[in-house]
């Protein structure tokens, strides 16, 4: 099946889980994979977990410039290395970085690209991917005519699984080229937030929250279980939450294990963004709200009464375990 490469992603020496998810699936399909990880410094933990999850070979693309992510340096360093390896397939996680550098890398190869896929299937020399479109209102298969096939895979969709195999680790001095778009500084959020697209649990609020301040009750509840807090478009448009919290067709598409929708009626464009969540809970005053058609568990009630009680119950659960 030619030369298959996973571009693994790490931050501060910790591997991103989606890299291991993709690698585990490749291993399940019997695909021999080289994991390429750009970075600098002590990456022993990263290379070890890549081998453990089935990488036949791990290549560390090493350069000081790659310590911090920039689009141009990642694309350039990866292309310089990969072009000599005759790649037939290049895969990465559909994280914010993955989605950013992969099209540039694909363009360097003049390759077709499919972003944010939920499954892939190797058969002989070919790979087909399935990719949701219209924020998940439907999905399609994408095949690639001339190689390499380049695609990214959505986090939280594939299961991780350790492989009982050995692999080699190699360091290669990378060529990051010249970076013209430089990150000068980063301002962290005042509240410590869990990234929506990678969260296991999400608690979202709609316009019924009535104000930005009231999102505090969702934040309190989220804090008990390490959840991320999301919002509907109506809440964002009303100015109750910033756009980076928006779930739906004009926001983020998420697939957590548990999605709790509070005071969200369930507009088609919101449902599209969260329908692949494993378990969906709705809390809504209106028993006729369309959201109840899509939920596993529903509570008909005022979120201002229900959510604080839920926070208390979750706290109790935490203290028991």
């Amino acid at each position: 099946m030619g030369n298959v490469f996973l571009i693994a992603e790490q931050k501060d020496g910790n591997i991103k889980r989606v890299s291991l998810e993709i690698l585990s699936e490749l291993n399940r399909q019997g695909v021999t994979t080289t994991a390429v990880v750009p970075g600098f410094g002590d990456l022993a933990k990263v290379t070890e977990s890549l081998v453990k999850h089935g990488a036949a070979k791990v290549v560390v693309l090493e350069h000081e410039v790659l310590n911090e992510y920039t689009t141009e340096a990642y694309a350039k360093a990866l292309h310089t290395y990969l072009v000599g390896q005759n790649p037939s397939v290049i895969i990465t996680g559909a994280t914010s970085h993955g989605k950013d550098f992969l099209p540039r890398l694909a363009a360097k190869f003049g390759a077709g690209i499919a972003a944010d896929c939920v499954s892939f299937q190797f058969s002989g020399e070919r790979v087909s991917v399935r990719k949701p479109i219209y924020a998940g209102k439907c999905s399609k298969i994408v095949d690639f005519t001339t190689g390499p096939a380049v695609f990214s895979v959505r986090p939280n969709v594939l299961a991780t699984q350790e492989a009982n195999k050995s692999g080699t680790v190699e360091k290669v001095a990378a060529n990051p080229g010249t970076v013209r778009a430089k990150v000068m500084s980063t301002v962290a959020s005042q509240v410590k937030k869990v990234e929506l697209t990678e969260a296991d649990i999400i608690i979202s609020g709609g316009r019924s929250l009535k104000s930005a301040d009231n999102f505090k009750i969702l934040n309190d509840c989220a804090a008990t279980v390490g959840a991320a807090v999301g919002a509907s478009r109506a809440a964002v448009d009303a100015g109750y939450a910033p756009h980076d919290m928006q779930v739906g067709q004009t926001g983020k598409t998420v697939s957590p294990k548990l999605y709790i929708a509070c005071g969200i009626s369930g507009a088609i464009q919101h449902l599209a963004g969260m329908r692949t969540s494993k378990v969906i809970v709705a809390i809504n005053k209106d028993p006729e709200a369309p959201i109840f058609q899509k939920t596993d568990y529903g509570i008909v009630g005022d979120l201002f009464e229900v959510v604080p009680l839920l926070t208390e119950e979750l706290k109790k659960l935490k203290s028991q375990s």
Partner: protein
């Protein structure tokens, strides 16, 4: 200074998707076509940039079948100076669209290229960077603030990063900038704008005109499917404290997600 805005025409977000019999696309009969919402922010940012710089032109470009000219006319009605249509009725993918857009950007000598961070139909979020690479320009996406320096050689950008963080990015120009919701509030088309747009001559190219006659899409779609319907679950009963206790028990013991 030439400001270029790359736009796409997409089905409105309220569209209920139905799949064609051959499963190679969606039924387009009853669709209301709109400018991709993120591209509307890009158009507005183009117009605002021109106003701040007090010079330059804003040129909107799209690639697609005959109907997509309407998206260009809407952009002209909002205030764009020029519009270019790469007319193509055949199969398109990120590769082919980016090739065409990059050729137009070269012809027009675009110095700042704005586009939406993604289109809400195929959710690829790839065109901005693909075009940038073909032009060998720097790129940055998910941008919520854009300041062009007085000498017009660089831009300072605010990028939404993971977990609510923001990156401040400085880039040389020319560059391709993918904008996010929140960067501005797109203006409505004015009545004189709409009149102007009706009469506006739109420059049209074919792929052949751009030297891309022999090129074809490299990612081919098939087997469109609707997601499985979620069965409606159970509404809990009892007073609210009882329901909440029951919910936590079910999430723990039945669904095993907490």
């Amino acid at each position: 200074m030439t400001i270029i805005v790359l736009i796409k025409q997409v089905p409105d977000t309220e569209t209920k998707v139905r799949i064609t019999a051959d499963k190679k696309g969606i039924e387009t009969n009853d669709i209301k076509w709109v400018i991709n919402p993120y591209d509307e922010f890009a158009i507005e940012e183009g117009l605002k940039t021109k106003e701040r710089l007090k010079e330059g032109t804003v040129t909107v470009v799209t690639v697609g079948p005959a109907r997509t000219v309407e998206a260009l006319r809407t952009a002209v009605a909002m205030g764009a100076d020029n519009a270019i249509h790469v007319k193509e009725e055949g199969t398109l993918d990120t590769y082919l669209v980016s090739k065409a857009l990059a050729e137009v950007c070269k012809k027009e000598n675009g110095q700042i290229i704005f586009t939406g961070k993604q289109a809400i139909d195929d959710d690829q979020a790839a065109t901005f960077a693909y075009v940038a690479e073909l032009l060998d320009y720097p790129s940055a996406t998910v941008i919520v603030k854009c300041d062009i320096s007085a000498d017009k050689t660089k831009a300072t950008l605010e990028q939404e990063a993971d977990s609510g963080a923001k990156n401040i990015i400085e880039t040389s120009l020319p560059a391709v900038i993918g904008v996010n919701k929140g960067i501005n509030t797109p203006r409505y088309a004015s009545l004189p704008g709409i009149m102007k747009a009706k009469k506006k001559e739109i420059k049209t190219y074919t792929l052949n005109d751009l030297g891309l006659g022999a090129e074809t899409a490299r990612a081919i779609d098939s087997d469109y499917q609707l997601p499985p319907e979620r069965a409606a679950g159970k509404k809990l009963s009892g007073d609210i404290p009882t329901q909440v206790k029951e919910l936590v028990r079910l999430l723990r013991e039945e669904a095993k997600v907490i």
